[in-house]
Amino acid sequence: MLTTDQCRSLRCLAEIMIPASVEYAMPSAGDDAIFADILQSLGRDAEHALAVVRTLDDMAGGVFGDLEPARRQAVSAPLLASDGEALMHLNRIILQCYYRDDRVMRSLGLEARPPYPKGHEVEQGDWSLLDPVRARPKLYREVP
């Protein structure tokens, strides 16, 4: 649905939103695999993504992706600070694709897998914390 130019603009925006981090060994949201996932996941929200890219291109006075990197930062800043519905949907798609990437999950100390069937361990916790509550009189009201 997006043209090649629009894809390039969107990818540049994704890289600005979540840049790569050497410190945390994290890719950017414009990484090949993550961006491919983003494009594939637009689905029912493709119109929203398109609206954001068109706005961005308008603000750039051309193809946003063709601007110099420093200029891209300046042009995109007011858009990213806004809170329109289209941007909200695009944000969700970018985040949902980024935070399910294997490399990202591993960097966060997570196993790259779905919850089922392995599940997770949760400690029982200290049930003696209930002792003061057990000592309380009843709280509920009797009724006539």
Binding site: Q96, L130, L139, Y140
Partner: protein, 534 residues
């Protein structure tokens, strides 16, 4: 026309399943029509890597966003709280968290005790045996001895406290406030063929493990074994009546959009407070020009949600995050009325754990805690698995101006008029929400939170739908009588949340199901005495 049945139930969710199972022993021909599909646990989101994304799409709580073929649209533009539901075998129990509190004795006597709304025509003692029966069918985990409740015995140990629960419990103990392990419709140990919870952390998109008690895996298998017929992808348009003013059956559309008439001797509505009101209003006729069972004018009136507040805190230490069921502990410190607080009635705090990696980011962005750009990664690590908190479930009092009506324009895929919601948050609810936010903030600070965030009401929090066909003994002030039968149409029954007189300040499903079993029991007793239609 299809063969007539003795009992026709509309809706296969929390209440439809219960009433079907309880009536099955009569050996009547019982048919349930459900507009949705059977669910496939092997395809629930938690089985795939896109588990969080699907909660924002095909498993979204809003029918308008989800927009499955089996959903109908709802115009909720005139409400600060949006409708949440699910259409399928199991209904809302497919997506509910499984929080499973009972009502309190005082919840049935709000007029007598607090001078607001109306008393119910039944009381806690009436429902108690049906609560117990429903608990057995559902499988409830928890801990006996909660001082906020009359004695009852959960059949399974409580869900784990975990790091999040222990942190919050310490905060509550510092303040000297009540808390207790939540009663949950989640199996903490293997139960009646269902496997125990393995802490998938994604209860609200269907439980792939089968530990959470949705009625497609609890009541329905038992009801079907006992002879009940369940027909899916059948969307009911209206209830028809005969010349005697009795219900004669329903008109419905199948999956191909073909219209059918299903005759029945008894019709039972189990579509909850939006769906049931919609069908009754769509069943208007020359004899019932304002909709069926609506001589009181109260069908669709008195819509109650539970206005919710969400209060979350961020902590230095790592907590449970997305691991474990959301259900954990509750507090009913502020449940019973204390007029010095500035409002009538009260609320429950339900404490939850945390968020998955995607939702931590999406939500962190929405609330201004997560920036784009170079600081994103550092900020994210302070949020993910460092958040826990609670929701406050506030009792909503019935008000006639809060309504379900028929939208004059919006229709579903079969051309049936869609429901329109008109709802205003009352001053009493607003004060209760403010109180809950302030007290919730105190709890989080006492527990060690360095940052607290809240929203009230939760805009997408219209999970609990009640009151649009209330029960009562006076036909001018209620839609059904004290055992669920329509005052106007003597072979029409309602068993869902629409018959609630008041909402209490707890999740309604356990009470909805107890009511469904109670109404079924009342039907059986009167069938035996040949007085059902008197």
């Amino acid at each position: 026309m299809t063969d007539p049945v003795d009992v026709l139930i509309v809706g296969a969710g929390a209440s439809g399943a219960g009433v079907a199972w309880n009536l099955a022993e009569t050996k009547m021909h019982i048919l349930c029509l459900e507009q949705g599909d059977w669910m496939k646990p092997s395809e629930y989101p938690s089985t795939g890597r896109d588990w969080e994304a699907r909660q924002l799409n095909d498993f979204h709580i809003s029918p308008n966003r989800r927009a499955r073929d089996t959903d109908y649209p709802v115009n909720d533009a005139n409400s600060p709280i949006k409708i949440a539901n699910f259409n399928g075998v199991g209904g809302g129990t497919v997506l509910y968290a499984g929080h499973f509190p009972r009502f309190h004795p005082s919840d049935f006597r709000v007029r007598t005790l607090d001078g607001v709304a109306d008393d119910w025509p039944i009381d806690y003692a009436t429902l108690e045996p049906f609560y117990n029966e429903n608990d057995r069918m559902t499988g409830v985990s928890g801990l006996a001895g909660d001082p906020a409740y009359p004695a009852h015995e959960p059949m399974m140990p409580p869900l784990p406290l975990g790091k999040s629960g222990a942190t919050l419990a310490r905060g509550l103990n510092k303040l000297g406030w009540h808390w207790w392990p939540s009663d949950s419709a989640i199996a903490s140990v293997d139960y009646e063929g269902r496997a125990r919870c393995i802490n998938l952390g994604h209860c609200t998109s269907g439980c792939a493990q089968g530990a959470k008690a949705s009625t497609d895996i609890t009541y329905w298998p038992a009801a079907i074994r006992a002879g009940v017929e369940l027909r899916t992808r059948c969307r009911v348009r209206e209830i028809t009546t005969n010349e005697g003013g009795m219900a004669s059956g329903v008109v419905y559309y199948d999956a191909n959009g073909i219209e059918h008439f299903q005759p029945a001797e008894i019709v039972i509505l189990a579509c909850n407070a939006v769906g049931t009101a919609r069908i009754l209003l769509n069943s208007a006729s020359a004899r019932f020009p304002n909709g069926l069972a609506n001589s009181s004018g109260l069908v669709g009136k008195n819509l109650m949600f539970h206005p919710y507040a969400r209060i979350a805190g961020y902590f230095d230490e790592e907590l449970d995050g997305y691991r474990g069921p959301g259900n954990c502990i509750w507090s009913q410190e502020f449940y019973e009325t204390d007029r010095s607080r500035g409002f009538a009635r009260g609320y429950t705090f339900e404490f939850n754990r945390g968020q998955g990696p995607v939702m931590a980011a999406v939500h962190g962005m929405q609330i201004g805690r997560l920036p784009w750009g170079p600081d994103h990664h550092r900020a994210y690590r302070k949020l993910f698995c460092h958040r826990t908190g609670m929701v406050a479930i506030c009792e909503d009092l019935p008000e006639k101006q809060n309504t379900v009506t028929l939208d004059p324009v919006l229709k579903d895929s079969n051309g049936i008029p869609a429901p329109k919601i008109t709802y205003t948050l009352s001053e009493n609810s607003r004060r209760m929400l403010d109180h809950a936010v302030a007290r919730g903030t105190e709890i989080l600070r006492a527990a060690g939170a360095y940052d607290v965030w809240f929203e009230a009401p939760i805009p997408e929090g219209g999970w609990h739908l009640m009151g649009t066909a209330r029960m009562g003994t006076d036909p001018t002030r209620s839609v059904v009588n004290e055992w669920g039968r329509s005052h106007d149409v003597k072979n029409l029954f309602i068993v869902d949340g629409s018959i609630f007189v008041t909402s209490a300040g707890v999740n309604p499903t356990r009470t909805i199901q107890a009511l469904a079993l109670y109404v079924a029991d009342s039907i059986k007793q009167r069938l035996a005495a040949a007085t059902l239609f008197d």
